[in-house]
Amino acid sequence: MNEALDSKREIRSEAGGDTLLSVRNLEVIYTASGQVIRAVNGVSFDLKRGQTLGLVGETGAGKTTIAKSILRILPDPPAKIVGGEVRFEGEDLLKAPLKRMGEIRGKKISMVFQDPMTALNPVLTIGEQIEEVYKLHEKLNHQKAAERIAEMLEMVGIPSERYNEYPHQFSGGMKQRIVIAMALSCNPDLLLADEPTTALDVTIQAQILDMIYKLKQEHNMSMIMITHDLGVIAEVCDEVAIVYAGEIIEKGSKEEIFDYPTHPYTVGLFNSLPSLNSEETRLKPIPGMPPDASDLPEGCHFHPRCAYATEECRSGRIEMTEIRPGHYCRCVHAADMEARQCRIS
């Protein structure tokens, strides 16, 4: 196991090759009874082949909306992608015809959802459900598909004899493995994992993360891991983007973000975590609540909760600045913050 962890680091540093996915100024709104909710406000990021990007943020920050807009599976209405581009292998998915999207979904990009209980159809056996993916994308016949499915199930650690069983016959952890097997069945280039382990127990979470990691290595796949758990990010990601009120407020390599968190919100997140290592007696929570997306504060969306907020923070759009090589932060006080730096760990 240790060797696997060590080799993980090396592969990661070599992997940085061409850009697979490039999201620019993505904007998504929801309209509900006349109110406009700005769920995603100009999100941009790049993802290289073979790398894993972690999107971290609290409930309602817009993480899932970002992932779903990449696949264009947001319910419209109420959701609407109003701007930006999502370039996947150079092709703008937001402008692609629906037929083309159908080819991409599941084959090139696939998604794993948080709740394995609702992601599987209870009246079909798991074999039938995975077969459907093959029939749709690979046009395999029944015999060939069955072989591939058996292979897939073994890969995620489920005995292939259970091919003909129904979802309710599996435990939560097993179901999530099946969902992942389905997502990976066509060797996608990009896996969008939306809190894949949040509903699971820690020991099962460890199994699943370990499995996802190994599969990702084998298939040289890219991944976007959406989670609120900084621990999970630390385990699996190369790059990290912190999302707050529909904006990326800080991004960089995992080492940069974890060693030099700069945005006051990022720092606050780390301080809110009860640590497993240090002997602290008091947590330092972020005061207040995340803002209402239908009524975002002017200027920096975080300023009402920020201890360092000044006049400049209260108006205008705060731009992303590069504070260190490859480390971007959306804060007018980034330079001062860096000086104040409190190193984690």
């Binding site: 609290e58 020991t203 993360l209 997140l269 009860p274 497993l276 330092k284 929570p285």
Partner: protein
């Protein structure tokens, strides 16, 4: 220091079509007055059932419960009424634990009113005092639960639990459904309340980092049984039971420079219906031996550190 609550050989079984479900199976422990005892374990291990059985929300199948030295295992309704003013519970889900048709003040006022200790004017004063105590602004007095976010709802739940000035509170995953920044606010609040009101907590959670932060003692449960119990620091420094070791190693850590040695457990929890005697963890345990099929009891390994594993000595002397 005395023990506020003591549990001896407590059992809680549920009948199911396939046999008896052993949710809590022969559990004994005590909690010191003014301390926090953390109970950790994975979903379905019986930790919530244990908490509810201890405060009589569920009736025990067998065993004894002592509260402040008195046997409270079987109570008549008058005694039950008295006990209920002293023990309370805070629930995991702040959505289902508040009646959607009652305002914040209605909810907090209810226990005060039922105790018949206050006049009408005092009721309002006390309600406002409780809201203040848990950090709820006065303008939420007439709000309905659906108008509040998870953190504020949980504050209402806490205020209701505190209304009768209990001595012992079972906290059943009170922060699991909250975002980290809100979670920290609630944890701090619980700590302040404990200090100011001499409360004793039993803190049930699956989140080891939370339990480490808030507890003085920790008990680890696996399939209805306690497998290890000791002071918090000791548990993290020197876990003895193979399950505890696996559990600790499985927590994703934010420390990116010192990757942990992960113990990846094989398989999953087996069914707690009519379990076989013997160690229930043995089918997933890397150290399992034939003698593990014998019933295991919690035994003192070192001072204040109890473990239910017949191979604890061997395993832990090998410098694993």
């Amino acid at each position: 220091m005395s023990n506020i609550i003591e549990v001896k050989n407590l059992k809680k079984y549920f009948p199911t079509p396939r046999g008896m479900l052993h949710a809590v199976d022969d559990v004994s422990f005590s909690i010191r007055t003014g301390s926090t005892m953390g109970v950790v374990g994975e979903s379905g291990c019986g930790k919530s059932t244990l908490g509810r059985t201890m405060i009589h929300l569920l009736e025990s199948t067998d065993g004894k419960i002592f509260f402040e030295g008195e046997d409270v295992t079987r109570l008549n309704s008058r005694q039950m009424k008295k006990l209920r003013e002293q023990v309370q519970i805070i629930f995991q889900d702040p959505y289902s634990s508040l009646n959607p048709r009652l305002t914040v003040s209605d909810t907090i006022r209810e226990p005060l009113m039922l105790s018949k200790r206050f006049s009408k004017a005092e009721l309002q004063f006390e309600t406002e005092k409780l809201m203040d105590m848990v950090g709820l602004a006065k303008n939420y007095y007439l709000s309905y639960p659906h108008e509040l976010d998870g953190g504020r709802r949980q504050r209402v739940v806490i205020a209701r639990a505190l209304a009768l000035k209990p001595k012992f509170i079972v906290c059943d995953e009170p922060v699991s459904s909250l975002d980290v920044s809100i979670q920290a606010q609630i944890l701090n609040l619980l700590q302040d309340l404990q200090r100011d009101n001499d409360l004793t907590y039993m803190f049930i959670t699956h989140d080891l980092s939370v339990v480490r932060y808030i507890s003085h003692y920790i008990s680890v449960m696996y399939m209805g049984q306690m497998v290890e119990t000791c002071p918090t620091k000791e548990l993290f420094a020197k876990p003895l039971h193979p399950y505890t070791k696996a559990l600790l190693s499985a927590i994703p850590s934010v420390d990116i420079h010192n990757p942990k040695h992960r113990i990846i457990l094989k398989g999953e929890v087996t069914s707690p219906i009519n379990p076989k005697p013997g160690c229930r963890f043995s089918n997933r345990c890397q150290y399992a031996k034939p003698e593990c099929a014998e019933p295991q009891t919690l035994a003192e390994y070192s001072e204040n550190h109890f473990v239910a594993c017949c191979r604890a000595k061997e395993i832990n002397s090998e410098n694993m």
